[in-house]
């Protein structure tokens, strides 16, 4: 078979114009800047990159960012599926409002979310003081970072799972029930597997968002080195010291982590699609 041509002939106009705009903006905004990061990394050298990364403070920050992002995405996976189920299947007063409220973390600027969560959950805040009475410190600890990451990742799972629940055929559930399955058995063994690929996609998006999140976290984190300092903040600190090589080293590490995560999640999705046999 002959190899397909690079571009199939088409009667549609505007190939040159649309390709020109797309490729030049893509290059100017994304490719050249990301290329500059790779270039700076290459110039800085593998040995220097390793020296930058191989410090307790950097390991601690990378590990903290990754671990708390994972936990927050896990929380959002469970809560997001629950929320999607409630919003699609149940009717109750205020459902529409609740549905719109799910998108608020997307619409609200991260800096605003950051100071609002801090004001609320700080030891002198409305909810923070309640928690403090119970001996639970939220703001300026890892709990605070977890809370902020849950906030920014909240809509992803719900929004990917909602349309899938909407499309589930009632007959499948009826068949399961008529074969004697209890409701919980049906939910766990029939419904959940159907939601899994979409839920995992939402989980991956929430995770990727959380690992890179900066604005909502720095206000509530307290930013204590080794304890509550996130990786993106280290980049900002390096830049403030005009240490471009160091900033590029940490930036490359973060880029690598996000790509690895996306790769792993994609593999999980392919696997679950194959196992369950539908998208």
């Amino acid at each position: 078979m002959m190899r397909a041509p690079l571009i199939q002939r088409s009667a549609m106009p505007g190939l040159g114009l649309s390709a020109g705009i797309t490729l030049s903006m893509l290059s100017l905004v994304v490719l050249l800047p990301v290329g500059a990061l790779l270039w700076q990394g290459a110039e800085f050298g593998a040995a220097n990159i390793w020296d930058t990364l191989n410090r307790d403070r950097v390991w601690a920050a990378l590990w903290l960012s990754f671990r708390l992002s994972f936990l927050a995405a896990m929380f959002n996976l469970v809560f997001g599926v629950l929320l999607a189920w409630v919003l699609v299947r149940y009717s109750f007063p205020g459902r529409r409002l609740l549905d719109a409220a799910v998108d608020l973390p997307f619409a609200l600027p991260t800096a605003v979310a950051g100071i609002a969560l801090t004001a609320l959950y700080a030891p002198n805040g409305v909810l923070g003081s309640l928690a403090a009475d119970a001996g639970w410190k939220i703001a300026y600890t890892q709990w605070g970072i977890f809370l902020a990451l849950v906030f920014v990742g909240l809509p992803f799972v719900t929004r990917t799972v909602q349309p899938v629940i909407d499309e589930i055929d009632a007959e499948i559930e009826e068949a399961s029930a008529s074969l004697g399955a209890s409701r919980l058995y049906t939910l766990r063994n029939v419904i959940l597997p159907m939601l899994a690929p979409a839920a995992l996609t939402g989980f991956a998006l929430a995770l990727a968002r959380a690992v890179g999140e900066y604005g909502s976290v720095i206000f509530i984190a307290g930013n204590i080195p080794l304890r509550t300092e996130i990786a993106p903040l280290l980049i900002v600190i390096q830049l403030e010291e005009y240490n471009y090589g160091g900033a590029a080293a940490i930036g490359l590490a973060m880029l690598l982590i996000s790509f690895l995560m996306l790769l792993v999640i994609n593999l999980i999705q392919i696997w679950s699609r194959r196992r369950i046999g539908h998208v």
Partner: protein
């Protein structure tokens, strides 16, 4: 089963439930968890912003927005949004046209590249722009020498904003344009319409709601972007401090009322965006990409 039997008052309702319903107690518990979770995570912070902004009354709040630095920040944010959103809309239309109207090798790769900014941390995005256009780089040095500084100036903030909002419009348009296919455009072209005329009179009416939807998402993010802008802006008061950057500076100076007043203003804009978005989802669901219909 008819609706009438379902909605009978509890006292007269038969004591059985459909086998495809959850037990009433479980149902109530799930609704309670959903409402309670969103109240603590979303509603409470929103309320906190307005409560803190008005802690010393309306007058103090409004006065803090009237000072020259605050006004400059508001102007700058509107300017940046006004440049970045049309740029992104133009890019989104061009990219969607290229991807849906032509067949070429490497299309999947192109889509991946367009989506790339979603998986890059905003701080890393800002870092990339500093490394390319900063005064210490070859290109940046040349630009500064010719009187066009990018980093610590408006062009850098625009670039950072376009980077973080890059896929928004394209992602809304591509599914809609795939679904609509090419037949209508082909018919118009066969009938002798020019390319532009075909786009304006055939394509644009089909995609206008999806375009508006993507533009709304883009606007909300552009006004509120913090991480990427924080890295490239240099935070010069009255010059390169956008609204979110100003919120950070005021907050760190313990000027709580001023910080939260500006935050409340951004919240107000976010709520307007959210309302418009919800209206679009309810009124024009058919014209939006499939996962926006609910």
């Amino acid at each position: 089963m008819s609706d009438a039997t379902l909605h009978r008052p509890a006292a007269t309702r038969p004591s059985f439930r459909r086998p495809t319903d959850e037990a009433p107690a479980l149902r109530a518990a799930l609704i309670l968890v959903a409402v309670g979770g969103l109240a603590l995570l979303v509603a409470a912070p929103l309320a906190a912003v307005f409560a803190e902004a008005l802690a010393q009354g309306w007058a103090a709040s409004i006065a803090s927005l009237g000072n020259p630095d605050a006004r400059s920040a508001i102007r700058l944010t509107l300017l940046i949004t006004g440049i970045a959103v049309p740029l992104n809309a133009a890019f989104g239309i061009a990219a969607a046209w290229l991807i849906t109207k032509f067949d070429f090798r490497g299309k999947a790769f192109l889509i991946t590249l367009i989506d790339l900014p979603f998986s890059v941390s905003p701080v890393v995005a800002g870092l990339c722009i500093v490394l390319l256009f900063g005064a210490n780089s070859a290109l940046g040095g040349w630009l500064v020498a010719h009187g066009l500084p990018v980093v610590f100036a408006i062009p850098g903030i625009v670039l950072a904003t376009v980077f973080v909002t890059f896929p928004f419009v394209a992602r809304e348009l591509i599914p809609v344009m795939i679904e609509q296919g090419r037949a209508e455009e082909e018919a118009a072209l066969t009938l002798g319409a020019s390319g532009w005329r075909t786009f304006r009179t055939v394509t644009l009416p089909n995609i206008r709601w999806a375009l508006l939807y993507g533009t709304l998402l883009c606007t909300a993010r552009a006004m509120g972007e913090f991480g990427a802008v924080a890295v490239v802006s240099g935070k010069i008061r009255g010059q390169t401090a956008t609204m979110p950057i100003t919120i950070e500076m005021l907050y760190n100076e313990y000027l709580s009322v001023a910080a939260f007043s500006m935050a409340a203003l951004l919240c107000g804009l976010a709520l307007i965006t959210l309302t418009l978005k919800t209206v679009l989802e309810l009124r024009h669901a058919d014209s939006l990409s499939a996962n926006r219909r609910h």
